[in-house]
């Protein structure tokens, strides 16, 4: 265990920016998904009759619409995260590396 390297990383401003923005973003997206999913589960648990209601004049029901919607939401949120992680977060992470290499 090399304490100087550890201290250097921890005190690097890019590192704290990276950890803060990444964890805020990760938790934010997780919260959106958890709320939507457990909203769906709560409806299933406490008001299941609402799920079989048709949307508009067609046959598609609220439950089926919501289920497919959550599948699409997963894909969308994952894409959002990957886009941000491969861009912004990797740039920050690279600058932590660069700072170490310069020393």
């Amino acid at each position: 265990m090399n304490h100087t390297v550890y201290e250097k990383i921890r005190n690097n401003p890019s590192f704290s920016q990276l950890t803060h923005s990444r964890s805020r973003f990760g938790w934010g997206l997780s919260l959106v998904l958890l709320l939507v999913y457990f909203g769906f589960i709560a409806t299933l648990a406490f008001a299941p009759q609402y799920l079989s209601k048709p949307i508009g004049s067609g046959f598609l029901s609220v439950g089926i619409f919501a289920g497919i919607g959550i599948i699409l939401l997963c894909f969308f949120l994952t894409g959002l995260y990957v886009h941000k992680a491969n861009g912004e977060f990797d740039t920050l992470s690279d600058s932590v590396y660069d700072a170490l290499r310069e020393d």
Partner: protein, 519 residues
């Protein structure tokens, strides 16, 4: 009732043999133990995405979910949604840190700052239990498939599948199973797409007609909403929790996150995989509804009494393939389903067996003198032991719904593995004592509740679900709660010297997990 078809069987064999040849070709290139576990980091993003999807699109997903949708409509979608929602959470909160910590397995991650020996034993036991239940579900699917296709007795079919699977993993390793996963994922996605296309083509591409016809044939609109799969609010929440958090505790899925060398590529792999899996679940939903229209109304797919499907509801997708594409296409889909099961089972067996050889044997029992040759030998014995147990379970649980059994594997993973994994990354005060006590509490609680529940104590032992001692089919809400509480209580009350060191080590683990820099 339809006869077993020669052309379907020939097509089945041609396809299965082609896939096995790829396995043996890949096996020749597997040299070291590291190759065996994680393909030496040589797998690229899109390949890994297909392999991950391959691992996930198991017999339960394809046969089980389409069967459940056929039987219950909307209720099947609850499983599809639940199987997918865990993915993004792993990516957002767990995956980055795992790869930055540079550990091979679930056990490796959680023992990063805790005591190696007891933690690895716990992790191995948790992994093995999860894997066994998951394996059982797959092997039941394979047994039913062979039973329907060849007209063999179910028990014989299960034994054949089990032996084939053991040979396959013992000689191929993860590189071989990776290639099978990739090829099979492509065939499964295209086969399922074709089936969904044919259904929609038949209905002039109108989803309204799809739902309207299905409701008309069933003579009830119960299939459009919650229709009896979930009996009460507690069950709904408990199933929801298990599916959401179980994914992160599945050892064979976690292993996959390490297969890609480059961080950007591995993130893209998860993104593509989420797309493939989501698309696939939408297809299984269309297939299930389509089967209500095309299979349930056709007497050749029903048994002699004309009351239920040949081979049961798990064979819906197979019958539908015959309905839309004839004998040859049915042979193709059966072969894809079979290799799907074989490949998933191999991935699972390998994850379970490597928990035994890598975590139990190499790090615990033979810590001082172990070499790769010896570890590989233990790995092969472990494969044999797991395979045989799964065969026995597959026969004992033969009447169970396979999607439900996979749900149980998720419940175990969510109770025994997920809490420790999550807290080891996010909670500084976690100590070895807390992890051990809470982990075993979660694991034993979930196993006891499964045994006392409506399926094992009720249906299997006493022949009536109502005779169960524990009333709920889905135990995760209780057992995961017990695990978290146990870990919390026995960590905060731990004042030992080791506990202090473990808490101090958290800051360094955090920096490594966030930066990926070794120091």
């Amino acid at each position: 009732m339809r006869e077993t078809s020669m052309s379907a069987i020939i097509m089945f064999f041609v396809f299965v043999i082609a896939i096995l040849m790829v396995t043996f070709w890949a096996a020749k290139r597997t040299r070291t133990a590291k190759d065996f576990y994680v393909s030496g980091g040589r797998i690229k993003g899109l390949q890994n995405a297909l392999a991950i999807s391959g691992d996930y699109m198991s017999a339960a997903s394809f046969l089980g979910v389409s069967g459940l949708v056929y039987l219950k409509g909307f209720d099947g979608l609850i499983y599809s949604v639940g199987f997918l929602v865990g993915w993004p959470i792993i990516l957002f909160l767990i995956a980055e840190q795992l790869r930055n910590l540079g550990k091979h397995t679930f056990a490796g991650v959680i023992s990063y700052r805790l005591q190696q020996k007891p933690i690895r034993v716990l992790a191995a036991i948790g992994s093995i239990t999860t894997v066994l239940v998951y394996l059982t579900a797959q092997i039941i699917g394979a047994g039913k498939l062979i039973e329907v296709l060849f007209g063999l007795p179910y028990e014989l079919a299960v034994v054949c599948v089990g032996i084939l699977m053991m040979l396959y993993v013992a000689f191929g390793g993860v590189l071989a199973t990776t290639w099978v996963q990739i090829i099979k994922a492509i065939f499964l996605l295209s086969g399922a797409s074709f089936m969904a296309y044919m259904i929609l083509n038949y209905l002039d591409f109108s989803f309204d007609t799809l739902f309207e016809s299905a409701v008309f044939i069933r003579d009830t609109d119960a299939i459009m909403g919650s229709g009896g799969l979930i009996e009460d609010p507690i069950s709904a929440i408990s199933l929801g929790v298990a599916l959401m958090f179980g994914t992160a505790g599945l050892p064979h899925i976690l292993m996959r996150f390490f297969s890609v060398g480059n961080a950007k590529e591995s993130r893209k792999a998860i993104f593509y995989a989420t797309g493939f899996i989501g698309y696939f679940y939408i297809l299984t939903f269309i297939i299930g509804f389509g089967a209500i229209i095309l299979v349930s109304t056709n007497p050749q797919y029903l048994d002699l009494a004309q009351t239920s499907l040949i081979g049961g509801e798990n064979m819906v997708a197979i019958h539908l393939s015959h309905a839309v594409g004839g004998e040859l296409f049915m042979g193709f889909i059966s072969a894809v389903a079979f290799t799907t099961i074989l490949a998933v089972v191999s991935g699972l067996t390998l994850a379970g067996a490597s928990a035994i050889s890598h975590d139990l044997y190499a790090n615990v029992f033979a810590k001082d003198d172990t070499d790769e040759m010896q570890e590989m030998r233990v790995l092969r014995y472990a494969i044999l032991a797991l395979g045989s147990t799964a065969i026995i379970f597959g026969i004992a649980f033969k009447e169970q719904n396979i999607a439900y059994l996979v749900g149980l594997a998720f419940a175990i993973a969510a109770s025994a593995n997920f809490p420790i994994l999550f807290l080891s990354l996010y909670w500084k005060k976690l100590t070895t004592r807390g992890a051990i006590v809470g982990g075993y509490l979660g694991l034993t609680t979930v196993i006891i509740l499964i045994i006392l529940g409506p399926v094992v104590w009720g249906e299997i032992i006493n022949g009536d679900a109502l005779k169960a001692i524990f009333p709920y089919r889905y135990p995760a809400l209780f057992s995961m709660g017990v695990a978290f509480f146990g870990i919390w209580l026995f960590s905060i009350t731990d004042t030992s010297l080791e506990a202090r060191k473990e808490r101090e080590a958290y800051d360094q683990q955090f920096v490594r997990a966030q930066s990926g820099i070794e120091f």
